[in-house]
Structures are given as C-alpha cells and as structure tokens.
Amino acid sequence: MTVHVEDSYRQHGPMVLRRCRRILGNEEEAVEAMQDTFVRLLEKQHTLSADHLTGLLYRMATNVCLNRLRTRRRRPADADTERVQQIADARLPEDRLLSMFTLGRLFSRHRESTRTIAVLHLLDGMTLEEVAREVGMSVSGVRKRLAPLRQELEKLDTGESKI
C-alpha cells in the first residue's frame, strides 16, 4: 500500500481526530496524536493492506493515545490520594477506564493488544464478537485477555485494589 498523506488525511483524518479527542480530552494533544497516527501509517505503509484501513487507523490512534495517557502519569512524589480521587471523580465507567490508563494501572501488566481490546469492549461498547472480528482473534481469546483486566476493575470498584 502507498499512502498519500493529504488524501489519507482528507478521508480518515477527521475520524482519527475524533478518536484522539475522545481518549485524550485535550485538543492540542489530540491533534498531535492524530499526526503521530499518520506518521505510524506512513512508516508501516509497505507492510499494510489498504483493506479495512478505517479499522486499522482507529486501532492505531487508540494505541497512540493510550501511550500518551501513560506519559501523563504523575511522578511518584504525588500523593496517592490524588490518584484515588481521580478515579473516584470519574463517574462514567468508560472514564474510569481511561483514568486507570492514565494512572498507569493497566500498562504495567497488560500487552498493547490487550489494552486495545479493553478499550474496544469497555470504552466503545463493542460486543465480544465484534471485538474479535475487529482484532482478528477468536471470541474465547478475547474473553481470556479481558478476564484479568476485568478483575482489576472490579477490585477497584470494591476498594480491594491498592492504588
């Protein structure tokens, strides 16, 4: 596949930016993440097929944004109570998930592909079957990847987990 930047941006850029806005919640960061997503596409263009490019860019943008969330993590010197408050203040389940990403809780234990699966299912609301089709795995494989992550989220909800 050969990527023409301007054409690809015109067709898919708005979608990528919407995705980055949703995850990052900050316009400047979202624009940078959108640009980084296209840079990644350019770097990998010769190994990619033009089929299902929308889904591919969507997942690429998701990963770029999750990596950015990680760099927002506070230094260890910051109080733990602030971290707890950040999660507690997030009312919607999907915002709690993003807060956990921000706090690095879900980075240290899970692969990039697992994080993508988590976001597609828990943030975007795709069914397990839809996620499986999107990432090219079996439903049981997706379920297996999500199980430990769900446990962490549940522990957080019940206060069992240490922040």
């Binding site: 708005p14 979608m15 640009q35 929308t54 690095g104 240290s108 839809e130």
Partner: protein
C-alpha cells in the same frame, strides 16, 4: 428500536467511508433505523467539514511530514563530543545506522543455561550476529566488526518494564527497545521478544555495550532517564552505572575489532 447512542463509534465511521452494514457485521448497527443512521452520519459529515476547515489537509500534510522527519532524525545517533570535561550533544548525520528487517532466529540457538548466574526470574538479553547461513549467539567479550549485522532478543523473566540501549566507543547512545522514544516500555513477564530492527555496526571504535534496563516493581523504565544515565558516562572511564533505586540493568560488552582500512591509512 435500539438507542443509537450505543452504537460503537467505529462502525459509524466505517459507514461514513462507504462500507456496508452487511460488511461491518454489527448486530447493533443493523438494528438502527435508516433515519437514525442518516442522522448519525449527518452529524459526522458536519464534524468532518469542521475538522477539515480547522486543520486543512495541506497544513496537516506538512505537519505530518515534519513529524515523520523528526522521528527519523531521533533514530539517528547522537554524538557526544567531550570538550573540557563537558559533553556536548550534536545531531549526527555522518554516521548512519541501517535498519533491516529482523532476522529469523532459530529457537534452537537459545541456550538452556541462560539463567545460570542470574537471579531467578531476571530478564535475559541475547545478541546474535548474522552469518551467511544463519546466526551466532554472542557472549560477553565477543569480538565484532564494522558492517556486521546484529539482532537482539530478550526474555522478559519477571520484568514488567524494560528498555535496551547501547553505548559505543564513540560515546553514541542508541535506543533498541522500545523502537521509539515515545513507545511504552511495558512488557509481559515470561515472554520471548525479538527486537523489531536489526543493527548494523559502524566504525565506532573499541566496544559496543548493550544495556538491558528493567524493573520488576510495577514502575516503568523511562527511556529518557536511562539514556541520560548512559550519556553521562565518558569513554571507557566508567564501568558501573549509577541507577535509581528499583532500576536494575544487565550488560553485554562486545569488543570492536580495529577497522583494517582505517588502520592502514593511519599516518
């Protein structure tokens, strides 16, 4: 009718670019009425127009291209030029590292004694030299030469985060894993990972020192921090790194054979 707010955004985006409901294969999407579908797509059309007006394609093409060039430049080596005891970083273009696709590694090359001498569960760094008919594992002190291609592989052990960098005899520091400065250093314990890019040796003298920095405490290795640690080492004067608490490292030291061409041209 299903409330359209519950439709995953990706499916609406795929509709926008012309994929059919059947191709997308989403049950929730297929349950939307045509009116609901059109309303969502109208919203996306307005959003598309707004975004393309705010961030015009020509401007974004320039910005993306500049970012790509910046990433390429960051992959090139930084040369420290010691001057009066103060090292000055200079963007180096004269020495290029050629990245090749990762070699196919034969798993039989993995020695069974890899964990001997290491604390149980520590990660393991392996460096292989490409040969005409395969590859050769290199141990500490092995001799390497300009132009040889090296491939790195690591076992994560109990590490939850790690980074691999090298320091050569010209005081240049190179990041090998993760592939890019901004990438996550998170790893899954108990895995075997082949570093995506092979590494062709240039004419830097004396040595190539490979460092695997890792943590097992749930914190992660920060690439910029470990890069700074290496950049503060001067040529052959420092053998032991000063690292923060919780950060550990392993090292593989390869000796550089003299470059015969250079030697023969020496005055």
């Amino acid at each position: 009718m299903k409330p359209d707010a519950s439709i995953p955004q990706l499916f609406m985006e795929r509709l926008m670019v012309g994929e059919s409901v059947e191709d997308i294969g989403s049950k929730s999407l297929s349950q939307l009425s045509p009116e609901q579908r059109d309303a969502r797509m109208d919203t996306l059309r307005v959003s598309n127009a707004d975004i393309l007006e705010m961030y015009p394609p020509v401007q974004m093409r320039v910005a993306i291209t500049e970012r790509q060039q910046l990433r390429r430049a960051q992959r090139q080596r930084t040369l420290w030029i010691p001057a009066s005891g103060v090292a000055v970083a200079t963007a180096l273009l004269a020495l290029m590292i050629y990245w090749n696709a990762a070699m196919e590694l034969d798993p039989r090359e993995m020695r069974e004694d890899e964990y001997i001498g290491l604390k149980s569960g520590d990660p393991v760094l392996r460096v292989y030299r490409r040969l005409p008919d395969g590859q050769e594992a290199l141990g500490d002190g092995a001799v390497v030469r300009k132009g040889e291609t090296l491939q790195l592989l690591f076992l994560t052990g109990d590490a939850t985060s790690l980074a691999i960098l090298s320091l050569d005899g010209a005081d240049a520091v190179t990041l090998h894993y993760p592939p890019d400065e901004g990438d996550s250093t998170q790893v899954t314990s108990g895995e075997r990972v082949v570093v995506p890019y092979a590494y062709v040796l240039d004419d830097a003298p004396a040595f190539e020192r490979f460092f695997l920095f890792f943590r097992t405490d749930g914190e992660w290795v920060d690439v910029s921090t470990v890069r700074r640690i290496l950049e503060q080492m001067t040529f052959s004067k420092q053998r032991v790194l000063q690292v923060p608490s919780g950060l550990r490292y392993q090292e593989l030291w390869l000796r550089k054979a003299p470059d015969i061409t250079t030697e023969s041209n020496a005055p």
